[in-house]
């Protein structure tokens, strides 16, 4: 990251901001500021260029047509791929997760190429939509507590050898492949189906993004009382669905 500030880029809120996705940007910025960092947040609309100098790129969820438009425009822009080549961090949710894979099925029922930042391919699920609270164990290599979130998607995302599952579900469907995987990650790129928004439910994941950007192993503690109370409630709720 630059000397002066942590640069958080929120990609295409005009298209990919259906599920409170701004929350991931707000939580990341807040937790960085609580550690004394200066944060510059840039919201990039889909008729603007993606800056290549960001530290953390956040991509949200969206409806089927905006997802297609976003993939087309990101492909044409090329900035996000260049930023990742430079070591930037990407955290993508739901439709955004599908877009940064190799391919997904768009609103016209066609196979649409994604950005190929993750070795995953998404097809449309045959069964019912995956909707509800999720509880999962995050990949032990990342050393994070359990993942809690809310899922709502029809996609089935298959992981290739170039990625690891971000988490393994205990409750919920995750990637929808039936093998219990949820999301995918490699190096500095993470994709997940979790809403909530997921970083509000899992502040340690926000901290992971900040640590990756700063290239440090630890951050000073902050008051996580309300986050912890919310996590405990949602984890209990996932275990005991209504």
């Amino acid at each position: 990251m630059s000397e002066s500030s942590l640069r958080v880029v929120w990609v295409y809120p005009d298209l990919l901001s259906t599920y409170g996705d701004q929350g991931n940007a707000l939580v990341t910025a807040r937790r960085a500021e609580q550690r004394g960092l200066k944060v510059t947040r840039t919201d990039v609309r889909s008729d603007q260029r993606i800056p290549t100098s960001g530290d953390i790129y956040l991509i949200g969820g969206g409806e089927d047509r905006p997802q297609r438009l976003a993939a087309e425009r990101l492909q044409r822009d090329g900035g996000l791929q260049r930023a990742v080549d430079n070591g930037a961090i990407v955290f993508a949710v739901c439709a955004g997760y599908q877009i940064i894979g190799h391919e997904f099925i768009n609103d016209l029922g066609e196979r649409q190429p994604g950005l190929g930042l993750l070795d995953v391919v998404t097809v449309r699920g045959e069964g019912s939509r995956c909707v509800g609270d999720v509880l999962a164990d995050i990949d032990e290599r990342l050393g994070l507590p359990q993942l809690t979130g809310f899922e709502n998607h029809q996609g089935v995302t298959r992981l290739g050898p170039g990625v690891r599952p971000f988490a393994r579900v205990r409750i919920g469907r995750g990637n929808g492949t039936g093998d219990g995987t949820e999301g995918a990650w490699r190096d500095t790129v993470i994709g997940t189906y979790m809403h909530g928004p997921v970083l509000a439910r899992n502040p340690q994941v926000a901290d992971l993004l900040i640590k990756l950007a700063l290239d440090v192993n630890a951050l000073p503690p902050v008051d996580d009382r309300w986050y912890e109370a919310l996590r405990a409630e949602r984890i209990a709720a996932a275990r005991q669905p209504a």
């Binding site: 809120p13 701004q22 929350g23 707000l26 409806e63 909530g196």
Partner: protein, 412 residues
């Protein structure tokens, strides 16, 4: 017994009677007003009932994400200047509830009906409306709602050959898209604070440019139509450019917008803005919304806000700081079970207000407010929260089932 002028067929008569009996049983069992169950039984016995019951009425349908119930009430009041009105005033807005409202037995001339967004075109096909009023469309109930833009497409398809006058808000690009293929549209510049569901052109997917007071797609040219009616501050401008002052008892910009639309609808039936607005001033609360209740030595104003657009409009009408604000959010089935939308609401707008938080999902709100840097306190019950606030007026904002809980708690 029905008192409508057109005689009902024996089948319809049995259906109406059976529906009323079911409603009475439901009421007796303490399960609410019984209007939905009654309508459901009646519709099952006679699927044509909606058509039959509405046959002799001039029908107005009102649909939107926000403001349906209030606008329906305002239109009903305005049209009472011209004749008797039947209406689903309590917000039972799906076909069963509408059928039940129409079956209440009436010599009415007008039927003013709030319709759930998803059922609008189906109901319109049954009741042959004279007017369809479309207020706004935005995200609501994330876990199950049809995509907002697809809803606009659905309305557009259903209304393209309608004989009705479509009274539509031209400041909402999605509503404009829904109405702009209809043969007879009256555009009302009713405004809209929330813009985050319409940055994409509904026609071509281009990025909408949204300068102050307008919107247009740079790619395909789809743009805001010129209005014939407009909300202008505290007045409504009629098609002749005459400014009529709006002096509602209901608070806020959104209700002035609802009144402007209601005035445009009333004009279709020959009720002039003067008498129409005069009648709307009698409305003080709608199904408990905007009611002020004295409780625990405090004055609670009860405000319903179900989604980000609703919260935004509500923040703009509350008393300034240091008025205390009580927030309550649930995520039960009727609310939508995904609380992610809380992050689309700009809670920094509450800076300076003492905030107390209750509701099933008070911890979601707590994290949201913490990240927004607000001062707040969380309580298990409404009573504890209200007692923690200073005596005087409390602005109480709640989403759907939380609002019902709140009314019950304070004896409203």
């Amino acid at each position: 017994m029905t008192e409508s002028t057109a005689p009902l067929s024996p089948r319809s008569r049995i259906a109406v009677t059976a529906g009323r009996a079911a409603a009475a049983v439901s009421r007796a069992a303490g399960r609410g007003s019984g209007s939905v169950i009654g309508g459901r039984v009646a519709l099952k016995l006679d699927p044509e009932l909606l058509r039959v019951l509405s046959g002799h009425l001039d029908i107005v349908l009102v649909s939107a994400t926000n403001g349906k119930t209030t606008t329906t009430r305002l239109i009903a009041e305005a049209l009472r200047a011209a004749g008797e009105v039947v209406s689903n005033a309590l917000g039972a807005n799906m076909p069963a509830g509408i059928t039940s409202a129409l079956a209440q037995g009436s010599r009415a001339r007008y039927g003013v009906l709030e319709v759930d967004e998803k059922y609008l075109t189906a109901v319109a096909a049954e009741v042959n409306p004279k007017v369809v009023a479309l207020l706004n469309l935005s995200r609501d109930q994330l876990d199950r709602a049809a995509e907002t833009r697809m809803l606009a497409d659905h309305w557009r398809e259903g209304l393209k050959d309608t004989k009705a006058v479509v009274v539509a808000n031209c400041d909402d690009p999605l509503v404009t898209w829904a109405a702009s293929d209809s043969p007879n549209v009256v555009w009302v510049a009713a405004g809209q604070e929330w813009k985050d569901d319409a940055w994409s052109c509904p026609s071509c997917g281009g990025v909408l440019q949204r300068p102050e007071g307008g919107w247009a797609c740079a790619e395909c040219g789809f743009r805001r139509p010129s209005p014939t009616w407009a909300l202008a501050g505290e007045t409504v401008l009629d098609p002749h450019g005459t400014a009529w002052p709006i002096r509602l008892q209901l608070p806020g910009r959104a209700n002035r917008a609802n009144a402007a639309t209601a005035a445009a609808v009333a004009a279709v039936f020959g009720v002039a803005p003067g008498p129409a607005l005069e009648r709307m001033y009698q409305v003080t609360a709608v199904a408990g919304r905007y009611d002020t209740v004295t409780w625990q030595d405090r004055e609670l104003r009860l405000l319903l806000a179900k989604n980000p657009a609703g919260w935004l409009e509500t923040f703009s009408l509350i008393d300034p700081p240091p008025a205390p604000v009580l927030l309550s959010v649930n995520a039960r089935s009727a609310d939508g079970t995904d609380t992610s939308w809380l992050w689309d609401v700009d809670y920094t707008r509450l800076a300076g207000h003492p905030i107390v938080v209750v509701g099933d999902r008070r911890l979601d709100l707590a994290v949201r407010l913490e990240v927004a840097g607000q001062n707040f306190r969380v309580f298990d019950t409404v009573e504890q929260a209200v007692r923690a606030a200073a005596p005087g007026r409390i602005e109480a904002i709640a989403n759907y089932t939380a609002f019902q809980d709140l009314r019950r708690a304070v004896g409203n």
